[in-house]
């Protein structure tokens, strides 16, 4: 097997275990999209264009709550701002590639692909085709996400509203934070964000509560980081 194909296959197999939680997440997104009254094409279109679970659900929530496009776009951008970090980390390994490669890889660089390819890049710096790993991991995520969205769209038209499936939005985001429950600083940041959002939900105009809460929490995060740096 040639090196490119081998690296591509490595990417696919490495990311597969991480796809298990992506399937229910995609289904939940599809179901909620239909429940909030979007058409099947719009629900799937959003998965293809945005390709990011958390930001898509935020967009759905704000869109159905009647937020302005400015607030919606800023909130979605804020949710996705962690990708700046991914890009900055990968620039070290991939900055020599052609622009087409960079655009394609940026499109598929999501949390799960970042996690596995980051490990691979660290251990295989000398592999000149290492970007094929991200290509394989990223497109595996892409296919799984689109297929589970379609499953959700199909299920969304038959699932009864009494099941309260919109509660799964909260649960899904909660589940994405489980690794941070052990860190004291993160818990403080989470509480700041949650409390500001809950109080601000009715008091902050234009549905900007997500942005205001996130910025308040990030301010606290910055202060905590600076205090910590001084100590060391």
């Amino acid at each position: 097997m040639n090196n490119r194909l081998k690296t591509l296959t490595n990417g696919i197999t490495d990311v597969c275990p991480l796809m298990i939680p992506v399937v229910p997440f995609g289904i939940i997104y599809g179901v909620i999209g239909m429940e909030l009254g979007l058409s099947a094409y719009m629900t799937l279109g959003m998965s293809i264009i945005i390709f990011g679970g958390a930001s898509q659900i935020v967009l759905l929530q704000l869109f159905s709550g009647g937020a302005s496009s400015f607030v919606t776009i800023t909130s979605v951008g804020a949710v996705n701002s962690r990708h700046l970090l991914y890009g900055a980390v990968f620039a070290e390994y991939l900055s020599h590639l052609k622009i087409t490669w960079k655009i394609i890889l940026s499109y598929v660089l999501i949390d799960q692909a970042f996690a596995v390819s980051n490990t691979y890049f660290k251990n295989n710096k000398e592999n000149e085709y290492k970007h094929y790993h991200l290509l394989g991991a990223g497109f595996t995520c892409w296919f799984v996400w689109q297929i589970s969205t379609i499953l959700g769209i199909v299920l969304g038209s038959v699932v009864p509203e009494e099941l309260g499936l919109s509660f799964t939005i909260s649960l899904t985001f909660l589940a994405l934070l489980i690794n941070d429950f052990r860190k004291f600083k993160n818990i403080i940041i989470m509480l700041v964000s949650g409390i500001v959002a809950t109080i601000g939900y009715n008091t902050i105009p234009f549905q900007a509560y997500i942005i205001v809460a996130a910025l308040s929490a990030l301010l606290v995060a910055t202060l905590l980081t600076l205090i910590n740096l001084k100590k060391n």
């Binding site: 940026s106 099941l163 799964t168 989470m190 959002a197 980081t225």
Partner: protein, 86 residues
């Protein structure tokens, strides 16, 4: 967009702060639907969502599994609304 950046454009401090982004944003999405009722007032007593979320956190803390966390929360929520509060 991201790859257009040159190497090391973000310093360590910025990277550290960006790593807190999920903790800073997700609770803003998690909290309001749990603590607020349909008209937007804070509802703490007899709120099955709070109990279900706490159970989900406990399961998540020990299992470290995303799926286990979601299902623990959903199943306890269904138990509360369909069995306990009936």
């Amino acid at each position: 967009m991201i790859f257009l950046l040159k190497e090391d454009i973000l310093n360590d401090k910025t990277k550290k702060i960006l790593s807190y982004v999920p903790s800073a944003i997700f609770p803003a999405i998690i909290f309001p639907p749990i603590f607020l009722d349909s008209v937007g007032t804070i509802d703490i007593e007899n709120n099955p969502k709070i109990i279900a979320a706490i159970l989900a956190i406990i399961i998540g803390y020990f299992s470290r599994s995303i799926i286990a966390t979601i299902f623990a929360g959903l199943i306890s929520y269904w138990f509360l609304i369909f069995v306990y509060y009936q």
